[in-house]
């Protein structure tokens, strides 16, 4: 016998608070597809993806219907192409991207991640070829997402890689100038990238993962925000300790949804269940915002003094609740602050409450990084690299994941709007105070050595 409260509060979360499973991501290993012949490699990839993912969307929808919880996105994450396709040239890498795109369309998923390289310690030939191919690959395909891991606490920061990625981002933006630099919205540069992230653009299937795996990304910023609002209305004397507890319990509930759905999808597909990534991931829909949570906790807007403390509390409470709710937690698992994908955050940036310096501070306590940040179109590659370097340093020193998904919007300047569409939303371009001051530093190149934090034995 269920209680009224159990039934009604669950329905409330679903109907008015945007509770859903944000993504079910099928990881597909492509290491057994490798070949010196890139055409053969492409055929093998295509066949393997179709073989494993043919029923993904249908199964997700069936399981979603059964429990009344929609699975909003179905995605695929493959092995890092720079490794699986190491013999490929840059041109051949573009061909591989096209094949991945074709496969994604065939199985009706919206994004396929894994066009990736891991260069935290240095470049192998496949890495160079992939990185060179990124601008073309991301402009001639729709659904492919790319990521490059340029730093880790164990290896330090590959500053040559960071320099190269600044240039790559500029090239990618130019190639998609008519779409406001859209290619860059599908590209992330990472420090300490997790190998089982179900969210894009960082999703890839790492070495050491099984041949196929289901990873789930839950969401629910609206649920958290509504829980806080209701509680504060009922008891205005609630302090941060008790609010933190409330967020933790809410995160538990949201994560349980992901666990249940993910496990059943995995079982029906005959594939192991990997992890639940319990990140609070917003969308441009009204009421589905992380930024609003800041307001519910007494800040006028995200970005004002107090924001870093709030985000630290939020991120931690979400992790605690989620960890108890799931047998296996992984991916990012925290709060996202994507500037374009969250109406409220986007507005806060537009109104000037959220500067790039504050965004950077926030990334030291949240789970992703500088995400979907639109920059002036004439930002030099070295400055982009320097922004990335700062992010890498925060991640490396603090033994956490950080990332940069930066979009220099060709032809537009600070204050202008960029439109990416769909889940990627739209963003106001953020001003940069010192556009031309970091070139000499970036040109030094080399590797910033691993910090002492990396010596943990």
């Amino acid at each position: 016998m269920l209680t009224d409260r159990e039934v009604l509060s669950t329905l409330q979360m679903l109907r008015s608070e945007h509770l859903d499973v944000r993504t079910v991501t099928l990881g597909v290993s492509l290491f057994d597809c490798s070949s010196h012949d890139s055409k053969r490699f492409e055929e093998n990839i295509y066949r393997k993806i179709l073989g494993l993912a043919r029923h993904l969307v249908a199964v997700c929808d069936e399981v979603g219907d059964r429990y009344g919880i929609p699975v909003v996105n179905k995605r695929i994450a493959v092995s890092p192409i720079a490794v699986a396709g190491a013999p490929c040239s840059a041109e051949e890498m573009v061909g591989v991207a096209r094949t991945l795109d074709r496969a994604a369309q065939e199985v009706h998923i919206d994004f396929i991640g894994g066009f990736s390289a891991l260069v935290e310690k240095g470049f192998a030939s496949g890495d160079r070829a992939l990185i060179e191919a990124i601008p073309e690959a991301l402009s001639c395909t729709e659904r492919v997402c790319a990521s490059v891991n340029a730093a880790s606490t164990a290896a330090g920061i590959n500053m040559d890689g960071v320099a190269l990625m600044g240039k790559t981002i500029v090239r990618a933006a130019r190639k998609t100038a008519s779409a406001d630099g859209l290619a860059c919205a599908k590209l992330g540069v990472f420090a300490n990238i997790p190998q089982d992230v179900p969210f894009m653009a960082g999703a890839y299937l790492g070495v050491g993962e099984p041949d196929a795996v289901i990873n789930v990304g839950v969401s629910g910023p609206g649920v958290v925000r509504n829980a806080i609002d209701r509680a504060r209305r009922a008891d205005p004397s609630l302090d941060l300790g008790r609010l933190s507890e409330l967020i933790k319990r809410t995160a538990f509930k949201v994560t349980r949804v992901g666990e249940l759905i993910g496990a059943e999808v995995a079982a029906r597909l005959g594939v192991p269940f990997g992890v639940v990534d319990l990140s609070l991931a917003p969308t441009p829909n009204v009421g589905d915002s992380v930024g609003e949570i800041f307001q519910s906790l007494g800040l006028e807007n995200i970005g004002v003094p107090g924001s870093t403390a709030v985000l630290a509390m939020l991120n931690d409470a979400v992790k605690k609740g989620g960890a108890f709710a799931s047998s296996n937690v992984g991916g990012f698992s925290g709060a996202f602050i994507p500037v374009s994908e969250d109406l409220n955050i986007s507005e806060a940036a537009r109104m000037g409450f959220l500067s790039i310096e504050k965004l950077e501070a926030l990334t030291s306590v949240c789970s992703v990084g500088l995400d979907m940040v639109a920059l002036p179109g004439d930002t030099p590659a070295e400055t982009i690299s320097a922004i990335i370097a700062d992010e890498m340093a925060i991640g490396v020193i603090n033994r956490k994941t950080t990332a940069a998904r930066l979009i220099p919007v060709p032809g537009k300047k600070a204050g202008d709007k960029a439109f990416f569409g769909g889940l990627l939303g739209e963003a106001t371009i953020i001003p940069l105070r010192s556009m031309n001051s970091s070139g000499d530093f970036i040109r030094l190149g080399g590797r910033i050595p691993a910090p002492l934090q990396g010596l943990r034995n």
Binding site: M1, L2, D4, E6, V7, L8, S9, T10, L11, M13, L14, R15, D65, R66, Y67, G68, I69, K253, R256, V257, E259, L260
Partner: protein, 184 residues
């Protein structure tokens, strides 16, 4: 010993179960199973009791009547027939149907007609919210057993169609989701 089932109906107040069980005890009957519900101000209870052979249904009724009339309770007594082999029941899965919408005649009849057509049995049914300030928010919760052989698609569509006819919002979800979210 024979088994009897008694149903008790009346305005709720302290002392009802005490009065009924006193009569049963005085007649050497053993209460084997009991359940009660209070709806608005009315008490409804069911008792299954094992009764010595010497006591007939009439004797039970008379005993109840004497003790309970002053409490204005109606009691119905029925002997449970010896059951034969248990009726084969199909393997079922537990689902929860919630309907929300303005109250009017025919809501329960309409929804349950679809359930009956598909051989779906209701295990628990209640009005969770009687509208209060907002007559459009009348909510009913049906916990049901759906045979695994049921055509889920057809069942869902029939329910949806019926809900549209009755101007109701309707959800159909497997029960596990509610337990997963709220219970450890």
């Amino acid at each position: 010993m024979e088994k009897f089932v008694l149903s008790i109906l009346g305005t709720d107040r302290p002392g009802i179960v005490a009065a009924v069980s006193r009569v049963l005890a005085d007649l050497c009957c053993n209460v084997e199973d009991v359940s009660q519900t209070i709806l608005q101000d009315e008490f409804v209870g069911i008792v299954i009791a094992s009764v010595p052979d010497a006591i007939s249904a009439d004797v039970l009724r008379a005993g109840m009547g004497k003790a309970l009339d002053s409490l204005r309770l109606h009691v119905a007594v029925k002997k449970l027939e010896k059951s034969g082999p248990p009726r084969p029941r199909p393997v079922c899965e537990p689902f929860v149907i919630v309907t929300t919408g303005p109250d009017k005649v025919g809501l329960v009849a309409g929804v349950t007609e679809v359930l009956a057509d598909f051989g779906v049995n209701i295990t628990q049914l209640k009005a969770a919210f009687r509208g209060g300030d907002d007559p459009h928010r009348n909510t009913m919760i049906y916990e049901v057993d759906v045979p695994v052989e049921t055509d889920q698609q057809a069942f869902r569509e029939r329910l949806r169609g019926k809900a549209a006819e009755l101007d109701l919002e309707l959800s159909l979800q497997h029960r596990d989701i509610f337990e997963a979210v709220h219970r450890i």
